[in-house]
């Protein structure tokens, strides 16, 4: 309680400060993108995509207490709507992203209405079945492009950016901008009336309802916004691989996003980078380890899975609320003692 008031207080004091932080961070990313090589820029774009997707899950799970095992399906909806809008309507890039957000949000609203009636394992089961079932729809309708999917080409970077401006840097810029805007906007939502009602529901649903919060509506809204963000992430994913196809949204993606959310700490948006970074970096770290210590194929192929799983279990066991929340708790405790 104390903490929330504290944060709100700070926010009121420095609404402008927050905005300038985001702008500053954006400028930092911009400068960074000129310093690093093309692979890192590409990975940066993937990272930004993960940031949006994980933020979407954090909103859903950490703030409104709903579980989604099928977030990959929502990403797929976003990716496909963006690609269809681009290919059939020749929509400008930013419009395709907007369309992805809106279409997925609408799908999320429908799903969220059903989801608000379900809880815990029932919702988990439904979202899991959705993640398994949805991609195979692509093979039922020709316009979805079947197994090989659809092309999604956001186009070349504007010529005004210079000759040595690579495609991936362009992706990175788009993805980073999308991520920055999403996180900024999401933070504002979380500080609004809606954010407060989600937190109240998370704490105690019965008490929140007594206080006049409509649990069903509130959860559906969370599901809708979360879906919209997932749709954006899906469009970003489609951009980085320039295509959408059913196999780009496997069940393992849904699980990976959940892993990322847990590693970030589902209760705080500010840890979102941690999870995204882990998802991007773990395979590389695993490869480095197995290159150094072993030549066995079994080790090389299974080490990334082993590392991610072990990390996930450790985080859930040791810092269940996430590293950021943990640090905050420790800091608060210290502060309490020094007082």
């Amino acid at each position: 309680m104390v903490r929330d008031e504290d944060v709100v207080h700070k926010f009121r004091q420095s609404n402008f400060g927050r905005l300038s932080f985001f702008v500053g961070f954006g400028i930092f990313l911009f400068l960074l993108s000129n310093r690093v090589d093309e692979l890192r820029v590409y990975q940066g774009a993937t990272l930004a995509m993960y940031v949006v997707a994980i933020a979407s899950l954090i909103l859903l799970t950490g703030y409104s207490g709903q579980v989604s095992l099928g977030h990959g399906a929502l990403l797929a909806i976003g990716g496909y709507s963006a690609a269809l809008a681009r290919n059939h309507l020749s929509a400008p890039v930013w419009i395709t992203f907007l369309i992805a957000v809106l279409v997925t949000a609408m799908a999320g609203a429908v799903l969220g209405t059903a989801a608000a009636r379900l809880s815990g394992p029932y919702l988990a089961g439904t979202t899991l079945a959705l993640a398994v079932g949805l991609p195979s729809i692509a093979n039922q309708f020709g316009f979805l492009g079947g197994e090989q999917g659809l092309l999604f080409d956001v186009g070349f970077p504007p010529a005004s950016l210079g000759e040595d401006f690579t495609q991936y840097k362009w992706y990175f810029w788009i993805a980073s901008l999308a991520a920055l805007i999403s996180i900024w906007w999401l933070q504002n939502i979380l500080r609004s009336r809606y954010g407060r009602s989600w937190r109240a529901l998370r704490g105690n649903e019965v008490a929140a309802e007594l206080a006049g919060i409509h649990a069903g509506k509130s959860k559906t809204l969370a599901f809708t916004i979360s879906s919209g963000l997932a749709g954006l992430a899906g469009a970003l994913l489609a951009m980085t691989i320039s295509t959408v196809s059913p196999s780009a949204f496997p069940l393992s993606l849904s699980f990976a996003l959940l892993t990322g959310a847990i590693l970030s700490g589902v209760t705080t948006l500010s840890g979102v980078m941690i999870g995204a970074l882990t998802l991007v970096a773990t395979p590389e770290i695993a490869a480095a380890i197995s290159n150094r210590f072993s030549t066995s194929e079994n080790v090389t192929t299974n080490l990334p899975g082993l590392l991610v799983s072990a990390l996930l279990i450790l985080v859930v066991l040791l810092v269940p609320n996430g590293p950021v929340e943990q640090m905050r708790t420790v800091r608060n405790r210290k502060r309490a003692i020094t007082r």
Binding site: D37, E38, L39, Y42, Q43, T46, S136, N139, G146, E147, Q148, G149, L151, D153, F156, A159, E163, D164, F165, T166, Q167, Y168, L237, T240, I241, S242, T243, S245, P246, S247, A248, P250, S252, L253, P283, E284, E297, T300, T301, N302, P304, G305
Partner: protein
Amino acid sequence: MIGINRRRLLVASAVLATSGLAISTVPAQAFSPRSEVGVTAKTIKLGVTIPMTGAASPGYNKLPSAMKAYFDYVNANGGVKGRKITLVVKDDQYVPTLAVAKTNELILKDKVFALLAPLGTANVKAVAASVNPGRRGVPTLFVNTGYSGFANKKAYPTTFTLLPSYIVEAKIIAQYLKENFADKKIGLLYQDDDFGDDALAGFKEAGLNFAVKVPYASGSQGLSGVPATWIQKLSTGGAEVVVLFGVSSATGAALGTAAVMKYAPKWILGSVGGDATTIKALGVPAGVLYNATGASFVPATTDTTDEYIKLFQTINAKYNNNAVFDNNVLVGMNTAFLTVQAIAAAGANPTRKALIAAIEKKGASFASAALTPLMYSATSHVGYSGYWFGTYGPTGDLKPNGGTYSVYTTDSGTGAVVKSTYKRPAMPANGLPAN
């Protein structure tokens, strides 16, 4: 050094691309007269992304070690023009996102000379669109999928396919069925995605009609009860001859379940799902395959009278931990064998451009274990284009019908199916291409 060169190369490609030139065969030597990316005086580095883990990995995950085994064999015998070949393997789990990420690592971090044998239509397509090896001038050799689209040189300028396309295969199977089972009711099991769609297109082109067509969703073959529904539909449809045009796990599931339901039509196995060793590894008893018909473009893996099989089995024993010698191992080694020839043909200081040119110019005459010709030319990036038919023996060995391999060839378009007169070039001494 290399970093700067590569950067300039990319700049140049971007410029070319933005100015509307679709094909970029950037003269890399212009910037780097001494050595190409991934090539040193002593080594050549190649890369492959392939499903090593996950549901799609069984079978395919044997390819990299087979390729490595052949490269090790060549390296032990002096390498290619003194250069030893290394192969960087990345696991893409059959997921396009990962295929793109890993291919980027191969090109940008590991700085490989060329990409080898990528797999999966969606993966190759995503890599082509996002990483765009075509624009970067990175050769993608011997794509390991039968999707016909990748042979389109305009869209995929640096890509060479290897397997006969699914359309080719379907046309040849249709011809075989018309010749041998004209009066029978024919059934088809196919995967309900592009793989199956290509096959359907091929059968349609050949004018073959099926009494029963059973589609299955990719992945559903592993679900208890699903294969039984196929067999039920095929048997109620009265199919006397059944074409199994799916992946190995689907073939295995169909054959195993048919045995349960005592349904015994004449089975015709497509090449993708027709490798006896893989099917047996799935737990299907060899006896179930007995008398089924199979199609292949390489010699039977058990045919030790074949000089390639003999050599590859020796290499397999020495450099591949004596793994089970199946079609995956055979195709893997054959791919490596072709790769070595291509690099050798690219000259004393191989460049990416020279590699592509060498395959276009000399690819059709490369030695290869396959019994069908390679169709590479300046205008075509199509690899093999034919099949022979055989019958599985009691232990699951595929033996050519009539004792000799009679190969049929055709193209992915409207071309007729013809009996091939191709004479396979003799294997170079010890399977080591002349340097």
